[in-house]
Amino acid sequence: MVFKLAWRNVRRSVRDYAIYFATLVFGVAVFYAFNSIESQQLLFDIQSAADAKQFQTTAGILGMFSGVIACVLGFLVLYANRFLVRRRKREFGIYLLLGMRPSMVSGIVLVETVMVGLIALVVGLLLGIVVSQGLSFLTASLFGVIMNNYQFVFSQSAFLFTIGCFALIFAVVTVFNAFSVSRFRLVNLLQADLRNEKAKVRNPWVCAIVFVVSIVILVFAYVRLKENGLLMLDDPAFVQATAGMLLGSLLFFWSLAGMVIGVVSRRPGLYLKRLRPFTLRQVASRINTAFVSLWAVCVLLFFSITCFSCGMALADLFRVSVEGASPFDMTLNAQVWVSPTGSRSDAASDPAQRRVEMEADAPERLAQAEAADWDMASVLQAADPQAWTDTVAAWGQVNLYSAPGLTFRELADVLRGSGRLSEEEMTYIDGVSGNNNMQMVGVSQLNSVRALQGQEPLQLGESQWALLNNFTATERYADAMIAEAPQLAVAGIPLESSGIFADTQLEDSSMTSSGMMLVVPDAVVTAAAEQGFIPEVCYLDLNFAENGRTAEENINAVMDVVALVQPASEGGFDNGPGSYGAGEWAGRLWPVTSCTTQESMFAQSRGLRLMITYLALYIGFVFMVSTAAILAIQQLSSVADSTGRYRTLDRLGCDRRRIYGSLLAQICIYFLVPLGLALCHSAYSIWVMHDTLFQLAATPMEGPIASAAIFLLVIYGGYLAITYFTSRSMVKGALQTG
């Protein structure tokens, strides 16, 4: 009997369940689809271990986020369920009145929950399997591979994970329901409808003051955020901005309705028009009672929109930046003497002292390097000449030195006179790297690396300097320096500007990031070495021989050679290609502390794109659906509670058209108020981030913003529309029964 009753109840309240059900289905589908990404690997011919590793990392991180997502969905299900139970208090009251045991009523609710849950789970999983097929095409395009052997993918692990998570959620819901039903009091249940809802009304003056305070707090938060620039997340400015936004938004929702009503109702010409008083009062009473959930919705929406659009921009950034950033087959990297602990911040601030430090802490390494005149290739070649010749066709090395006697602050002083840069930009140079010396590279070494990537050699005079820059962020400063053409003194040698500007990439990297490097005659480097300067970093760029082996085999061959020259006692160089091995041992290991390969850089970029795009989609989608569903459920339950009011309006002779108009206005305002504030926050945050991060990388934001807007329009707008049509049919039903 319990089953029959429960089934009838579910069928009868299909309308109440519609949004709940749809949201559950979406949740399950997306949950499955994003967790099934790992098994999409089957589809692609992923040849390198690097790509496979990126794939696994992405799947792993998505899996980690699934925990958070499951919590959000669990909260949503609980919340929706609470509304459904509350809506039916009277019905439960009648069951109890007819002598049903409370345990049996709990049983009915339990069976209903499980039934709806099971159906949603099945439908959601089916939908999820379809969606995951679609996602595999997206994966293919993000990964830049062509799918030539498409096959149906079913992920058993994602399937079981989804079922497990949702089973847990439903178990919690069931316990919660049984508990709340057992606590019902009969008289409250039966009189649930009669209970006159006390309209929450706030003093308009208090509201006005709180509203102004909330705006002040928000402005303060915005100012602090701008100062922080959204770069350092542990900066007190960021903490203050976050706290300010949260508090300001909360006060905003607390006071908004009272303030607006207070202002509008004092202007009869504006207020006393048709159903306006009714519409505004309805919305105001909703906002006043539900201000906390509106606040939560606003925060989640902000998160969703920002996450989505910035994620998309970031993904684009990785696609654009890797182009031209890895021109060599492989780069062996030597971080020369960072400090005994391997951390740069512990290193002596005076670059001239680095040789002294290294001699004290790692004398044998220094001796080896100086014996080879810092030439990495000669050391490696000597270790296994045959393997080296078989594997490496051509190489070039650059040593980056600190330019003796030329810090960025001194450069800033020179540039300040030119008037080409704003004071803000000057402060930026000064602030970021004021005490650091400019880096310099000898022209013949630079030319060897240029030759390796097919560029013409630079012709630099005996006492001239040129400038190397291919980092977008510092382009303005580079332009200014070339135009200003100052005379410089490096290592005591005066240099004139040659006016030459080079944009050579020096190593394999994830982005073009050679910023403001000075190119000097070889004599200057020799003079620096005589003054006790040692290189900061050495890059040995390799191009592989045409030996019929795959890139991966060649990389392994080079790694084997490198292993021969590493002191076994130090350990550490076992992280494989692609890892920047900056551990404690890094400073001690000359000639190689880490390596990067073209292949791993591309794979890394593809992997990051994949991961960021999917995270943005996943989080953006789930948060957006959750918030829209919460608003929809609240609106529907509010409409259900106020059908009597619509009946009164109808009896007073109000046209149906106007009643539905008022309903639409209420729903729109209720949906758009939190969205408005969230959009405001998002736009501002994106603008700040654009100024500090994306603009530096010259990433266009229009595309991501447009896709976020479409995303928003479809999901949020869709929920809004469903809510309106469902409420309209509820009101229509109420008016027809009279």
């Binding site: 006393l272 028009k273 009714f278 009011r645 009164t648 009896r651 007073l652 002779g653 149906r656 009279g738």
Partner: protein, 271 residues
């Protein structure tokens, strides 16, 4: 006791120009073909302009159905109802809504005030729905509230008012639009005796001073004694009619009681 059996004269139904409402041979049938219930079985009467009239009858006599038909909340099965010279039974839904807001005022047993609106806004709503110019509304609302003695609760919400205050605000909402006809469904049903008396005096005032035509459905003989005329319904048909004439309220009340006692006695014997 002759008047107990008196029937309304046909002359009334012929109607005159002073009639606010003419109800002619109205039938209302509920249910399907197999199970028909005649809630109204050919009811005919007139209400003159400025009249205060009560409709009484035992439960199930059809008095609320009749009021619903007049208020156009429900449709008649046959017959016609003429208000201001127009037959409202042939109106479309849009015309009905317009008719309700332009020509009718309602007072309900459970007040039906909108609980999210203040007293002031509840009264003003009757005007804004009609599309009255906003600048005229505040003055009209205040004037009506003063007349009905609710100007002190204009800024309160329904949950802050007593039952009597709520009903008077509802009365002000019904009156403020200057309707042709005010329909009151058990207006004292949810009030205690003191609030009932105040409410009835208010309705008397609305009728006498403001010239409102009021039809009140009630089962309370005391409430009915405030009116000019009482119609008795039984089993969907007019059963009797009493006019106050020149008699005092107490006398009228006694006469009404006689009929209601007779009706309830008859119901008792019928079982």
């Amino acid at each position: 006791m002759a008047e107990v059996f008196a029937r309304p004269t046909a002359a009334h139904a012929a109607g005159g120009s002073r009639d606010a409402l003419q109800v002619m041979a109205v039938r209302k049938t509920f249910g399907s073909r197999d199970n028909l219930t005649n809630a109204l079985n050919g009811v005919t009467f007139n209400v003159e302009d400025g009249e205060f009239m009560a409709i009484m009858g035992p439960s199930g006599s059809g008095k609320t159905t009749l009021l619903n038909c007049i208020s156009t909340i429900d449709r008649v099965t046959s017959g016609s109802i003429v208000v201001g010279g127009r037959d409202i039974t042939s109106f479309s839904r849009g015309e009905l809504a317009r008719f309700r807001r332009e020509e009718l005022g309602f007072i309900f047993q459970d007040f039906n005030l909108l609980d999210t609106l203040t007293g002031y806004e509840n009264i003003a709503l009757a005007l804004t729905i009609k599309g009255a110019p906003a600048r005229e509304i505040p003055e009209k609302v205040r004037a009506m509230a003063r007349t009905l003695g609710v100007d002190a609760v204009l800024n309160k919400y329904p949950y802050q008012m007593s039952g009597g205050q709520k009903q008077r605000v509802a009365a002000a909402r019904a009156m403020v639009g200057d309707p042709k006809l005010i329909l009151a469904d058990e207006p004292t049903g949810a009030l205690d005796s003191r609030a009932s008396a105040v409410m009835l005096e208010i309705m008397e005032l609305m009728n006498r001073e403001l010239g409102a035509t009021i039809i009140m459905v009630t089962h309370d003989s005391f409430a009915a004694s405030f009116t000019d005329r009482v119609l008795f319904l039984r089993d969907g048909a007019l059963f009797n009619e009493l006019r106050c004439g020149d008699s005092s309220r107490e006398e009228f009340f006694t006469r009404i009681m006689e009929v209601t006692t007779f009706l309830s006695g008859e119901v008792g014997h019928g079982i």
